[in-house]
């Protein structure tokens, strides 16, 4: 029940980012998640500069070095992997490829899936049917087969891995975008724009797309987590990223054989993945609450009037 008195002048909006920050402060879990993510992103950006080539320096005589020893430099604090390379360093450097791959995959699947979904939802011509059947096909196409096909025909590379992950996640955006468009295109402002003479392109891009985007972004946040996990599952099956490139997922996959003898090799990257995906999930929950006018009050200060 918002109260707007008929003659009051519309209030100027306070700084949107400040409000969001306030909401974030009210949810300590989401705040922690945001701080974690910020740290990881920072690591991804500054990592290579911070660690240099220490992450790939061999130490065959300190293979599987146990964590928490301060005998070696700080970078060995979390232990060393099967080739004696510092786990901390590799985590930091791996953040870049892990987050980079996930971000690129999520972004491209959102872009492609969203665009196709917009078209499929707005038009009822043959191509929108074609798009839907395509989505069906992609959905039931095993991602592993796709991974292998791409790996074989295009060769192992980060770009190709991104292609695989993006294609497999695409139908979700397509279907969501389409469903949203089906609803939005019946909305009055779309009719209004049409009655003013706006063409389909203008309606889609100017009127519908901006309203579909927030939903897609929310899905993208959760999907980011899914993509990191599927990437690690691909590594587990040997169809993911190939050495010498590595991601956290590949680190877990390579270290899994050592879980009983040198747990730390798979544990730290596993923890990093878990914290990242957990944070993303918590943040997207938070964002849902913020976006829902009926729930938003949960994050507000709720200052009471003086009695």
């Amino acid at each position: 029940m918002t109260i707007i008195s008929p003659n009051a002048n519309p209030a100027a909006a306070p700084g949107a980012s400040r409000v969001l920050l306030g909401y974030l402060r009210r949810d300590r879990l989401a705040l922690a998640a945001a701080v974690f993510l910020a740290l990881f992103v920072l690591a991804a950006i500054l990592g290579p500069w911070l660690v240099g080539d220490a992450a790939s320096r061999l130490g065959l005589r300190q293979r599987n070095l146990a964590p928490f020893s301060l005998e070696h430099s700080w970078i060995y604090f979390l232990g060393a992997d099967t080739l004696g390379r510092p786990l901390l360093g590799r985590l930091i450097v791996g953040a870049q490829s892990t987050l980079g791959i996930a971000a690129a995959a999520v972004f491209s699947s959102m872009l492609i899936g969203g665009t196709l979904g917009l078209i499929a939802g707005y038009s009822e011509r043959w191509h929108s049917h074609l798009i839907l059947r395509l989505a069906d096909v992609v959905m039931s196409f095993p991602s592993l087969l796709l991974a292998l096909i791409v790996l074989y025909t295009l060769g192992p590379s980060i770009t190709n891995l991104v292609i695989v992950l993006a294609v497999t996640r695409m139908p979700i955006y397509l279907r969501t975008a389409r469903a949203e468009v089906l609803e939005l295109r019946e909305r009055m402002f779309v009719s209004a724009a049409r009655s003013m003479g706006a063409g389909p392109a203008r309606i889609l891009l100017r009127h519908i797309a901006p309203l579909v985007l927030p939903t897609l972004v929310t899905i993208a946040a959760i999907d980011f987590a899914t993509v990191i996990l599927s990437e690690s599952a691909l590594s587990f099956l040997g169809l993911g990223i190939q050495p010498p490139e590595f991601t956290w997922g590949a680190m877990v996959a390579n270290g899994r054989g050592y879980l009983s003898t040198a747990w730390w090799i798979a544990f730290w990257p596993g923890l990093a993945i878990m914290l990242t995906t957990l944070s993303l999930n918590i943040l997207s929950n938070w964002a849902r609450t913020v976006a829902d006018p009926q729930q938003r009050w949960r994050l507000q200060t709720l200052r009471k009037a003086a009695r």
């Binding site: 061999l58 065959l60 599987n64 292998l148 190939q242 050495p243 010498p244 899994r256 054989g257 003898t261």
Partner: protein, 502 residues
């Protein structure tokens, strides 16, 4: 479609019932956990590890077996053999042997089995060991067989160790999943979960201690190891080195595999001998050996000790980065483009820690100034680089490979790698070809000496490869069993050799 799915469900239910009842009568049962599901149980594919480990000498038996210590053929279903002509061998067969379906084992059965392998109507992996030899098999009498070939086969008795004799009732034109042989066990069930073998009462030799053998498979080494630990399984033939942590149960064995990197000698800058030498010198061999365990042997040549032609005296390349750098500088000074990008092509899952080894070697080569870039490929992709014809535009490349010569003779190694016609060879040296041909034609001491000389030359003058290690396999054997793995474990686990501790 519907009925078969019902069938599948029913059989799955039956299978689970079978599995749980099997648990009840341990003691006479042995449970073995393999790394991989056998795709099929065609006796003609026993050289495939997971097929051979189940069938070989358990369900089906070969004519001869190789003594793991000497590498020499020993009698099995054939009791003796003589070379009666330059291209003719005559075999005497064991008497009183019966197939599990009740048919008699005789010369006809041997002729049938060999012809079935040769027919080309089924995919027969084992026959590949014979190369392009043309064989003609005839029954001389009930227990005598004569084998004629188109050219001399000096090691035919060794080759006969891959000839699995099957019942004449086996279909000729169809690969089977229900093999019938003469072994001490007959196949009971083969499902996607298990293979179960039951003792065959009519076995000709001493009966094994077990009346039943169950095979299951798990791809994760740590889980296989854990299963033996918890008593869910008695034996697993192969675990990763990091899981071989218990000296009581974990045994290492030299497994006849030699790992190496092939250098593509046709591609600059790898066509320069100094670069190839530098590649060998730049590796910290002792450090690298850490990846494969304390028991691996540094390899100086492509065959393991005990193989006819192996040169014990040949020294492996040392670790000498200074020398490597010096050689590269010399080459560079002579205008060799040593900074060309060299592709290091690895294969996923080729052997335990294979990818780590490639990463380590890449880093070491980069440390001496070589521009090496690692690409890990899927098997089928990798094969394109391994075998002729090589891909066009492949560029300078190093190929991760593993060679398994368990046939006792260097003839299965040298021509493939070093003769210009060799399937894996990047060399093209007519003089070397001649030497190889001469060695292959030789026999006895001469043959051995020639092979040794060739390995010597390959190591010191040709340097077409970077031999790494003679590999070690690890098995975990449950504490109630008395059994040790040997060099044949990769291809067979004869249950008759496994005893219970009392």
């Amino acid at each position: 479609m519907k009925r078969s799915s019902v069938l599948a469900i029913t059989s799955a239910v039956l299978m689970t019932a079978a599995a749980s009842s099997a648990m009840a009568q341990a003691g006479q049962e042995i449970r073995i956990v393999l790394p991989e599901q056998p795709a099929n149980l065609e006796p003609c594919g026993t050289i495939i590890t997971n097929v051979g480990q189940i069938l070989s000498q358990n369900v089906v038996e070969p004519l001869t077996v190789i003594d793991p210590k000497t590498g020499q053929p020993q009698p099995k279903l054939a009791t003796e053999w003589t070379q009666v002509g330059p291209v003719t061998w005559r075999l005497k067969l064991r008497d009183g042997v019966k197939f599990q379906d009740g048919s008699d084992f005789n010369a006809e059965a041997v002729v049938f089995s060999i012809n079935r392998m040769l027919s080309g109507k089924i995919t027969c992996s084992n026959i590949a060991k014979f190369g392009d030899a043309k064989l003609e098999v005839t029954a001389v009498d009930d227990l005598t067989v004569e084998i004629k070939s188109d050219k001399p086969q000096p090691i035919l008795p060794t080759l006969l160790s891959v000839v699995m004799v099957v019942s004449p009732k086996t279909p000729v034109d169809q690969a089977v999943n229900d093999p019938v042989g003469t072994g001490p066990f007959k196949l009971s069930t083969f499902s996607p979960q298990t293979v179960v073998l039951d003792a065959f009462d009519g076995y000709w030799d001493q009966k094994p201690e077990f009346t039943k053998a169950t095979y299951v498979w798990r791809p994760e080494s740590s889980i296989r190891a854990a299963m033996v630990d918890t008593g869910e399984a008695d034996l697993t033939p192969s675990i990763a080195i990091q899981d071989a942590s218990n000296p009581e149960t974990d045994f290492a064995y030299l497994n006849s595999e030699t790992t190496a990197i092939r250098i593509d000698t046709a591609q600059p800058p790898l066509n320069d001998l100094r670069v190839r030498k530098a590649l060998n010198l730049a590796i910290d061999w002792e450090g690298l050996a850490q990846l494969f365990g304390d028991d691996v042997k540094r390899a100086s040549q492509m065959v393991v000790p005990g193989i006819n032609g192996h040169d014990d005296a040949l020294e492996a390349w040392p670790y000498d980065p200074e020398e490597a750098t010096k050689l590269l500088e010399e080459a560079a000074a002579d205008g060799v483009a040593v900074d060309t990008e060299i592709k290091l092509i690895g294969r996923n899952g080729i052997y335990p820690n294979g990818a780590e080894a490639m990463e380590a070697m890449m880093t070491m080569w980069q440390a001496v100034g070589l521009n090496v870039k690692l690409t890990m490929l899927d098997v089928a992709d990798w094969l394109r680089y391994l075998q002729k014809p090589f891909p066009e535009e492949r560029g300078a490349n190093l190929l991760q490979m593993m060679h398994d010569n368990n046939k006792g003779d260097a003839a299965f190694t040298i021509p493939i790698f070093y003769r210009s016609s060799g399937n894996y060879a990047t060399l093209s040296d007519p003089a070397l070809d001649k030497e190889i041909d001469a060695a292959l034609a030789a026999t006895g001491e001469d043959r051995m000496k020639s092979f040794k000389a060739l390995f010597d030359k390959a190591r010191k003058e040709v340097v077409a490869d970077i031999p790494m290690f003679h590999m070690i396999g690890y098995t975990r054997v449950g504490s109630r069993l008395d059994w040790k793995p040997d060099i044949t474990t990769n291809s067979e686990i004869p249950l008759a050799n496994i005893r219970l501790k009392d």
